[in-house]
Amino acid sequence: MTTLESTPPTPAATNYLTHTRGFLSWAFTLDHKRIGVMYLVSVLSSFLVGGIFALLVRTELIAPGETIMGQDAYNKAFTLHGAIMVFLVIIPSVPAALGNFVLPIMLGAKDVAFPRLNLFSYYLWVFGAFFLVAAIFQGGLDTGWTFYAPYSTEDARSGVILATTGVFILGFSSIFTGLNFIVTIHRLRPPGMTWFRMPLFLWSIYATALIQVLATPVLGITLLLLIVERVMKVGIFDPALGGDPVLYQHFFWFYSHPAVYIMILPGMGIISELISVHSHKHIFGYKFIAFSSVAIAIFGFLVWGHHMFTSGQSGLMNAVFSAITFSVSIPSAIKVFNWLATMYKGSISLNTPMLYALSFLFIFSIGGLTGIFHGTLATTIHLHDTYFVVAHFHYVMMGSALIAMIGGLHHWWPKMTGRMYSETLGRIGCIIVFVGFNVTFFTQFMLGSKGMPRRYHDYAGETWSPELTELFHTYHFISTLGSYLMAAGFFLTAGYLLHSLVKGRKAPSNPWGGRSLEWQCTSPPPHDNFSSAPTVGDCYDYSVLEWDDAEGGYRWREDVPHPV
C-alpha cells in the first residue's frame, strides 16, 4: 500500500523546474525529469521538421506531374521524412522522453540507476541528430531511410556516410537508455513492488529496453560495414565488388524489424495506463498484457525476413518467416481484447488522453489487421512496396505509436509542467488529428491495392497508362487534403499546450485519478521525487481514491486507513 507521507510536506515550495536555475543547471543536469523534458523538446522539434517534409511529399503528390519539386528533391524529402521520423522521433519519443520522466517516479525512485549515462545518452542523441541534419546540408540523402545497398554505396551518394554515422551514434544513445532502464527496473523497485505489481507501462518499457540493447548493435555493425565498403571499397554488399545486396537487407531488418517493436511496445504500455486510469477501473488481465509485451519482444527478433518476401530469398525461407510472423499477431490481439475488457463496466471519462487511447484502439486495430495481408504469402507479393504497405506502417508507427505518445503526453502533461491545458481544445485537437489521419492513410490502402508503388515522385508520364494516372490522382488528392487537416490538428495541439504553460490552471497532484506512484508526488514533482522510498500496493486499485473539489483532483479516501 502507498503512503501519502512519502510526498514532501510543503508541496509547492520547490519543484524540479525551480530547484536550480540557469542554462547550465539544465545543460549539466543529472535529474531524469529534466533530461526527459530536454528529450521531449528535442523530439517534438524533430517531429515538426519531419512533419514539414511529410507535407512537402504530400503536396508534391496532390496532382500528377511536377507540382512543387523535381524528382531528386522529392527523393530527398521522403528520405529525410522517414529518417527523421524513425530515428529522431518515434524511437526516442516514448522511452527516452516520456519514459525518462515517468519511469523512476513510477518506481518511487529518486532517479534512474545511472544518471550520468542518462545525460550522456541525451548528448549522443544531439550529436547523432547533428550528423543527420548535416547530411541535409551537405547535399542531401536520397536512399530512403533503409539505405539499401548497392544504391547507398555508390560514390554519388555523398550524404550517406554522414547520415549513417549519425544513425550509428543515435543507436548508442538508444542502447544506453535501454541499459539504464533495465538496471533501474531490476535494482530500484521500492519495497513491495514485485514484478507483477509494476505498472504495465514499465513492463512495456522493460521489454523495449531488451530489444534496444540486443538489436541496436546489429544496426551499428551494419552501418559500419556500409561505411567500410564505401570508404575502403571492401566488397560486402555491392556485387560489383563481390558483395551481396540481399545480405544487407538481412542485416538491416534484423535490427529494423525489432525496432518496429521499440516503437510500438512503449505506446502499448501507455495505452494500458490510459485506458485503466480514465476508465477508473482495474486493468483486466494484467499478466496476459505483461507477458504479451515480452512475447512481442521475443517474436520480434524472429520475423525480419518478412520484409524480404520479394527480395529473391528462397520460397522455403519465405514460408518460415510467414509462419513466425503470424505469431506476433497473437499477443497484439490479446492486448486489444484486454483493453476492451478493462473498459467493460468501467466509469469512463472522455478526457483528452482517453480520446487518444480510443483513437489508438481504432487505428491500431486497422494497422494490426492489415498486417495479416502482409504476413500472408499469397497476398503480400502483390502488396509489397506499394502504398498498401505505406498505409499499414503509418497506421502502426504514426497512428498507433505516435498517437499513444501524444496521448501519454496529455496524460502526464500536468505532472511534467504543473499546468492543465484546455480540455475542450484538447478534445477538438484529438478529433481533428484522428479524422485527418484516417483520411490521409486509409485512401492509401486502396491506392496500394490498385498497384501504386511507394517512393514515386509522380504517377504520370511517358510510361504511365492514363487510366491509372486518373485513378491514382483521385486517391492522392484526398490523401493530401487529409494530411493538411492532420497538420492543422497538430498545430492546434501545439498551440494550446504552449498556451497552458503560461495561462494554464495549476495542476493538482492527481488530476485523472491515477493510482501509480507518479500521481502521489506534487505536480510538478520535487527534485528528489520522494523523500523516502514509498511502499506500494495494487497500482490499478482505484477504490481508495476520491474526488476532492477544493483541489480539482483526486486524493486518498478519508475512510480508508492510510497504509504505513
Partner: protein, 345 residues
C-alpha cells in the same frame, strides 16, 4: 504516346483496365483469382474483428460513461483466464488457417510450368530491356502471348529494381549479380501496366513499361518479325532505324529541342556535329562519329561540361549495326523528326 502507338498494334484497341471497386486491379493472370480469394478471405475476417472491436468500444464508452466524480466502476473482476485463453486461441486458429491458404496460393506463384516461354529481362536505371530467345528485343514493351505460361529471367546492371505487374499480382526484385525469376500466364490479350517497385533513384517513378498480351498466333508472328526488324533497312536508310532504337534512350534523352532530361537532347548532339565542345576536365573534343560511338559504348570517356557522367554503357546491349544506325540517326536527325520530336513522313 507510347500507349497510343501500341494500341494500333493490338486489334482489340485496348485500354488499361483499372478494375472495379475500391480494391485490387482486374484479374489478368491465371493465379490472380486465387490470390484475390485469399485477399477477400482475410479482408472479411478483418472487417468482422474491426467492427466487433469498434462496436464494443463505442458501446462501452456510451454505456459506462462517467456520470459524476463519485461514479465507481461496476465490475471488479481483474482477470478471467478461460476468457483470455479464448481470445488467444481463436485468433491463433484463424492465423494458422490464413497462413496455410496463403502458403498454398504462394506455391503456385513460385513454380513456373516446365513449358514456360522464357524472356530475359535486364533492368538498368531507368529502363527495362526484354530479350526474347529468337533475338527480338524491346524496351518499355513486354510482349507476351495469352494463354501460355511466361517465365521472366531477370537481372540488374546497377542497383536493385523490382518488376511489378499489378494486374497479374506478380512482383519480384531484380538484383545485380544474381538472377531472379518470375512467371505468370496472362488470360486475355490486352494492355497492362508494369512498374519498377524497388526504389532506384531519380527517375524511379518513370521506370515503367507496358505489358502487351497478344493472341498466341499473332504473338509468334510479331516476335518473328521483331527479330528481323533491322533487316528491313538497307545501309542507305539505316538512319531511320534509329527512331525505334531511341525508345531505349528516351528515359534520359529527348527528341525535343528545348527539353533537357538527365542527358542532352539529341538535337544538341545533332546541332553540334562537326564542331568542338568543352568537356568536363576543361579540354575540347570533336563531336564526330567516333564521339557518338564512344558515348554509347564507353560513355565515361568524354563528358560534355555541365553534365554528370551517369550514362551506363550499351556495350553488348546494342548490336554493332544498331550502334551504326544510332550514329547515322544522330547525324541526320533533321531528316527523321522535327524539332518538337514528331516524325517526318
Amino acid at each position: 504516346m507510347l500507349l497510343r502507338t501500341l494500341t494500333s498494334l493490338l486489334s482489340s484497341g485496348a485500354r488499361v483496365d483499372t478494375g472495379d471497386g475500391f480494391w485490387l486491379p482486374p484479374q489478368a493472370s491465371t493465379y490472380s483469382q486465387g490470390i484475390d480469394w485469399v485477399f477477400y478471405f482475410i479482408y472479411w475476417i478483418c472487417v468482422f474483428f474491426f467492427v466487433l472491436i469498434v462496436a464494443l468500444m463505442i458501446l462501452f464508452v456510451w454505456k459506462y460513461r462517467r456520470t459524476s466524480v463519485t461514479h465507481q466502476a461496476g465490475e471488479t473482476v481483474t482477470h478471467h483466464t478461460p476468457l483470455e485463453l479464448t481470445w488467444t486461441i481463436i485468433p491463433l486458429i484463424l492465423v494458422i488457417a490464413i497462413f496455410w491458404i496463403g502458403l498454398d496460393g504462394y506455391v503456385d506463384m513460385i513454380r513456373p510450368p516446365a513449358n514456360a516461354y522464357e524472356v530475359n529481362v535486364v533492368a538498368q536505371r531507368w529502363n527495362w530491356s526484354f530479350e526474347h530467345r529468337n533475338g527480338a528485343q524491346d524496351s518499355q514493351i513486354l510482349k507476351v502471348p495469352a494463354g501460355r505460361p511466361v517465365k521472366l529471367v531477370m537481372t540488374s546492371q546497377d542497383v536493385l529494381h523490382a518488376l511489378f505487374i499489378p494486374a497479374f499480382r506478380a512482383k519480384q526484385d531484380v538484383v545485380p549479380g544474381r538472377y531472379t525469376t518470375l512467371w505468370f500466364e496472362a488470360k486475355e490479350p490486352g494492355l497492362y501496366q508494369l512498374f519498377c517497385a524497388e526504389y532506384c533513384g531519380t527517375q524511379h517513378s518513370q521506370m515503367g513499361a507496358t505489358v502487351a498480351v497478344y493472341p498466341p498466333d499473332e504473338f509468334d508472328e510479331i516476335i518473328a518479325k521483331d527479330a528481323r526488324w533491322l533487316d528491313n533497312y538497307t545501309d542507305e536508310n539505316l538512319y531511320q532505324a534509329g527512331l525505334r532504337i531511341f525508345a531505349r534512350c528516351s528515359s534520359c534523352h529527348s527528341l525535343q529541342e528545348e527539353v533537357r532530361l538527365t542527358g542532352p537532347s539529341f538535337w544538341d548532339v545533332h546541332d553540334d556535329f562537326g564542331k568542338k565542345r568543352l568537356m568536363e576536365g576543361d579540354y575540347e573534343a570533336d563531336i564526330d562519329e567516333n564521339y557518338i560511338q564512344d558515348s554509347i559504348l564507353n560513355p565515361q570517356k568524354d563528358i560534355v561540361a555541365t553534365y554528370q557522367g551517369v550514362m551506363p554503357t550499351f556495350q553488348g546491349a546494342l548490336k554493332p549495326r544498331e550502334v551504326r544506325a544510332m550514329v547515322e540517326f544522330l547525324k541526320r536527325l533533321d531528316e527523321v523528326v522535327d524539332r518538337q520530336g514528331n516524325p517526318i513522313e
